[in-house]
Amino acid sequence: MNTSFDFEKPIADLQQQIEKVKQVAEKTKVDMSATLAELEEKLDASKKHIYTNLTGWQQVQISRHPERPYTLQYIDMICEDFIELHGDRTVKDDKAIVGGFASINGETVMVIGHQKGTNTKMRQYRNFGMANPEGYRKALRLMRLAEKFNKPVITFIDTPGAFPGLEAEERGQGEAIARNLLEMSVLKVPILCFVVGEGASGGALGIGIGDRVYMLEHTWYSVISPESCSSILWRSWDYKEKAAEVLKLTSEDMYKNGLVDGIIPEPLGGAHLDPQQMADTIKSKILEDLAVLNTKDAELRITERIDKFCAMGVVVE
């Protein structure tokens, strides 16, 4: 297993030790299985301890791991086939949001998600997963298409935020996101949303109004990124760890606060260590939920969806 972060150092050390013991055992032909077993046990315990006690900032780091699967990879692993559809019919085709019809176990669904790049060139091409208004309008166009043909919608959320650019403002970034919030809340087909990486603010919510909204275990979802929160509240980028704590942005906190419907467990150490296993877990969740949601009356589904979001918030009377 490749480790990437400082907090994973104890794991890396143990792995190194195990490697060394294995080499010695092979060279000297001495039976060291007892030592090995003991070390393996320690390794397991250490992994469990570290990955179940992650701080907010550590979760943010894992959610941004460059090898984490993105929307197109999930589609590839979950769906039998996929017809990607492009363009918002007004301005252009946004590369930071992808979507199209796909089949899951023989059922047609509309899959829409943020897309990040896997190398420097592609990251630029995908604008780091930061969509412009045309991205949200493409998403809405595809959702309407799904509604027309009575197919459920599945969204994958992974964005550091909606793009804060000049053209984005000219073309109405605010209006594009707002429109999606309104239209998604009354869309007649089932909607499932998965936060698979970063869930930053309106940029995430813009494709995030669902009958069920889930967060993968090591993802974050909040009103602002910890870096921006730090720069606004403490006027410096140095308090991002603290910001990550106070924002209560982890899947555990979000679930506890009733702001998402569930947590999808990740392979030990994160989705990037076993993308296939992660995809399988998501797939079974999709199938399980669609079986329930597909049989529900559309009006009831919409009412329950709206009531769910309307119950969010804490006020004192």
Partner: protein, 283 residues
């Protein structure tokens, strides 16, 4: 011997009765720097009569400008913010709230009222920038949601006056979800075919722009207001270029097709009333 004698000690005016003349009776227009007398400001609906600059005012002033005889029933005035995340930055959220209650005499960044405009029923929800930057937290979301329910129940048009820096960070994801809540309620209002007018004033940014402010049957704005999703500083840092003059002003937003018209505050009541009459109250 003293010329004046203080007969009662201490401040005895309650916050409620405090006369709002923030920097004394005379104010300087922030744009043309000419002095404006408080009485003149009221007379001209808080617009500089020299240069037409629209002074930043709150719900109290908007209600007095728009409701007939300044008569209205305040809706849901009892809603107060909780502190679900026990949020603390330089000070605790609870303390920040208490200070804001004391400083502004308000209970949160929005007030809602049911009154009449030229004799026609109207519900107005109006944001107050003086309360933590007009930020949108649970109370703002909930008050808007309940006001919309009230409008649907009583079949009354809804006017929402936005003036906000965006979502309230101290309620983090709870604030974010108010965008979903208010937009969903507006979908129901729309279904009920009741008019919703969104009036944007200086400033309207962030999560407010990306939810209810942009969802009006008509979107209108006061002249010269800052209206945008991302703040100008963030955009400048992202594109590493100076922003064009007039970027993100009402006039810019109108030009790009996201506003129906810009309205001077001095003509606002008449314009609003004639629109509401045309689409809703005329048989």
């Amino acid at each position: 011997m003293a010329w004046f004698k203080r007969e009662k000690k201490g401040i005895i005016t309650s916050t409620e009765e405090k006369k709002e003349a923030p920097d004394g009776i005379w104010n300087k227009c922030p744009q043309c720097k000419k002095p404006l007398h408080y009485a003149e400001q009221v007379e001209h609906k808080y617009v500089c009569h020299y240069c037409s600059y629209h002074l930043r005012v709150g719900s109290k002033e908007y209600f007095s400008i728009l409701f007939d005889n300044n008569e209205f029933t305040e809706l849901f005035p009892g809603l107060r913010s909780g502190d679900p995340l026990t949020f603390t930055d330089s000070k605790s959220y609870t303390k920040r709230l208490e200070e804001s209650y004391a400083k502004t005499g308000l209970t949160d960044a929005i007030r809602s009222g049911h009154g009449k405009i030229n004799g026609m029923d109207l519900v107005i929800a109006c944001m107050d920038f003086s309360f933590i930057g007009g930020s949108m937290g649970s109370v703002v979301g909930e008050k808007i949601a309940r006001s919309i329910d009230y409008c649907i129940e009583h079949k009354i048009p809804f006017l929402l006056i936005s003036k906000s820096g965006g979502a309230r960070m101290m309620e983090a994801a709870f604030s974010l979800m108010q965008m979903a809540k208010t937009s969903a309620k507006l979908a129901l209002l729309s279904k009920a075919k009741i008019p919703y007018i969104s009036l944007m004033t200086d400033p309207t940014t962030g999560g407010v722009t990306a939810s209810y402010a942009m969802l009006g049957d008509i979107n209108i704005a006061e002249p010269g207001a800052l209206i945008g999703f991302a703040g100008p500083r963030v955009i400048k840092e992202t594109i590493k270029k100076d922003l064009p003059k007039g970027f993100q002003t009402s006039e810019f937003v109108l030009e790009h097709g996201f506003l129906d018209f810009i309205v001077d505050r001095r003509q606002m009541k008449e314009r609003l009333a004639s629109f509401i009459k045309m689409v809703y109250y005329r048989n």
